[in-house]
Amino acid sequence: MELILFIITALVALVSAFMVITRRTPIASVLYLVLTFFCLAVLYVMLGAQFIAAMQIVVYAGAIMVLFLFVLMLLSQRGAQTWEVAGPMRKWLGFAAAGGVLLVAATALQSVGVSDTVLDPEIGTVSSVGSALFRRFLLPFEVASVLLLGAIIGVVAMVKRKPYPSETEEGVEHGS
């Protein structure tokens, strides 16, 4: 039963990941990416990582993808919705880079080996993630809050209306 479920979700994940990079319209790519993320979430649950599965849906499939869609819908104009086709040189470079990444993953897998050892079933639960976050990773957790604070202030500082309108020639078109 679990095997069947795994095969189905894994196949859907692979196919939709393939669709992400082959669709010509960005909106379709993004929607297929959402599907990939949902399949990954199912896989995480099967690995016993409920917390990561929930985060996958709430943060990635939810917030970030919706943001992507909104940006695409706001930005893109009619007729300009297809990707720019890269030159052959860049295509081959892309293939080479992807092949390199695959090679690294393959050597890593090969040196570890595929085994049936069951990890601690508690490792992915919300409570164990929480206790790791507030014990071992207490300092990084707090530093992350500084990082986010900086990002928020930075975004506001960069995009909000300027208090004193600028009179320089470059500033006229952007001026408020």
């Binding site: 990084p140 604070l149 990002a151 930075g154 500082a157 470059e170």
Partner: protein, 510 residues
């Protein structure tokens, strides 16, 4: 694994910097358009942070389950970073509020946010210099970078500033990807370790048959850090970003993040990966040689002083990498690290001094340009400013009796002791080459007839920065003993996360 309240002592400077950042931002909401108050507040706060960094000196050992270390190296660097931020804040206000008849440069920036971002970047760098775990290394780099992206583009009414921010952001995000992928591979290859000490130990335990992706991980982490240091061939962003960013930010950027990333480089490579030095040592050797040579050669042909100083900062990163290479050697670790600390202190003083004068000269020009030609004949009008600029240039070139000379002397002598003689020969030849473009400015100021005199209007805060920098360079150039002793003591107190060093760390049960 329990939380130890005394751990907080090691992060007191960071807490103070973040608190100051929030205080400045909130104060601006209450008192609008009182920039002097904000600046004084930030300066006073940074002085307190510096004092706190010195006071928490030698609270050695790991804290927060090995996430951070309050050792000599990190406290020295924290004091230095607070000093960098201090001078950057001092030179910022007059840059941001130009005289009314000047060309509107720097308007439209809210000072509170500007100082706040500067302080958050400082906090990120402080976390980075004391990081002894891959997680904190990453968070430190990201906190610093995000704040710097914003600072680079904070004058968004200028196209150049926006271009600098976007370039820096895109390339920086790309470099972060490399760094993170490398860290993931290191984590996998060492069996799930993120602590630098444990990584070192795990690699020793692996013995001779190490997986290939361990090396790839180390290589990718190196690429990520090289980007932040602006070493060749990962330097392409630096000249454009340095030129487009507001000049005080450029001064801050060329001194602070470089120092912090270099410290992280020493901690990660000399500390956690000494067993792999046969692989990354030659790579670092080549990068160091390329960095200083390319930086110096391209600097010669620059016409814009900001770009010239940008390439010069690439060259200086090359000299510093020579020191980092020597620090990987157990025998010369202390002298090389102490040399780097001295060098960074000297570099910060002379670089910020030079940028301050560059701002003053550019403000005297109605178009606000940074042409090197503007310095022609300046000595006749402004003997003191010219003398200070000449001092900064001589120090940057590394001629005695300046701090720049002793910085190079200490770093290079450590590298000779470590056996990198040919690299030091390249470095010394490069220093000789750099004399050409540094002294060209001195020649322009003193020996060329003035075409259009640049009437520099001195501002008190700017004068203060120049005096501090000049006095510091002379002090450390004539009497380098005190600083060197402090650097030496700091280096010897480093928590060396090498597998052979017995460092008491709390157990990790996760």
């Amino acid at each position: 694994m329990t939380f130890n309240p005394s751990d907080i002592l090691t992060i007191v400077p960071e807490i103070a910097v973040v608190a100051l950042a929030m205080l400045v931002i909130l104060t601006e909401l209450l008192i609008t358009r009182r920039e002097t108050v904000l600046q004084l507040m930030t300066v006073a706060g940074l002085l307190v942070v510096m004092a706190l960094a010195v006071l928490t000196f030698d609270k050695a050992g790991g804290a927060f389950n090995g996430m951070t270390a309050g050792d000599g190296l990190s406290t020295f660097m924290k004091a230095l970073l607070a000093g960098i931020a201090l001078l950057a804040v001092l030179m910022s206000r007059d840059y941001l509020t130009p005289p009314t008849d000047a060309g509107g440069e720097g308007r439209g920036v809210r000072h509170g946010e500007y100082y706040g971002m500067l302080l958050i970047a400082t906090c990120g760098m402080m976390i980075l210099v004391s990081a002894t775990d891959l997680v904190t290394v990453f968070l430190g780099i990201e906190t610093t970078s995000i704040a710097l992206y914003v600072l680079a583009g904070i004058r968004s009414e200028r196209a150049r500033s926006g271009e600098a921010a976007l370039k820096y952001f895109l390339l920086g995000a790309f470099a972060t990807g490399f760094l993170l992928y490398g860290m993931a591979l290191l984590y996998g290859a060492t069996g799930g370790k993120t602590n630098l000490t444990e990584i070192g130990r795990a690699i020793t335990d692996l013995g001779p048959d190490r997986p290939v992706y361990l090396y790839m991980g180390a290589g990718l982490v190196m690429i990520g850090l090289m980007f932040k240091v602006a070493a060749v061939p990962f330097h392409f962003w630096a000249p454009d970003v340095y030129q487009g960013s507001p000049t005080p930010v450029t001064a801050f950027m060329s001194a602070g993040p470089k120092a912090a990333a270099l410290t992280a480089l020493i901690r990660v490579f000399a500390g956690a990966l000494p067993d792999l030095s046969a692989a990354w040592g030659p790579a670092l050797w080549v990068v160091a040689a390329l960095t200083m040579t390319l930086g110096n050669i391209v600097a010669i042909s620059q016409k814009d002083i900001k770009r010239m100083l940008a390439y010069s900062s690439i060259a200086h990163a090359g000299y510093l990498l020579v020191g980092a290479l020597a620090a990987a050697n157990t025998g010369t670790y202390n002298s090389a690290t102490a040399g780097i600390m001295f060098y960074l202190t000297a570099y910060y003083l002379m670089n910020i001094g030079a940028f301050t004068i560059a701002i003053l000269v550019s403000r005297a020009r109605e178009n606000g340009d940074y042409q090197i030609d503007d310095y022609k004949g300046m000595a006749a009008l402004h003997p003191w400013t010219s003398a200070a600029m000449a001092l900064f240039m001589i120090s940057l070139a590394g001629i005695p009796p300046t701090a720049g000379f002793f910085g190079k002397l200490y770093v290079f002598s450590a590298a000779v002791k470590a056996g990198y003689i040919s690299l030091v020969v390249i470095a010394v030849l490069n220093s000789a080459l750099s004399v050409f473009y540094y002294l060209r400015i001195v020649v322009y100021m003193y020996m060329q007839p003035e075409v259009k005199p640049a009437r520099v209007r001195m501002a008190p805060a700017m004068a203060l920065v120049i005096v501090i920098c000049a006095l510091g360079i002379l002090k450390f150039g004539l009497l380098p003993g005190d600083l060197m002793r402090w650097a030496d003591r700091s280096a010897s107190m480093t928590v060396k996360p090498s597998p052979r060093a017995a460092v008491a760390l709390n157990d990790h049960d996760q």
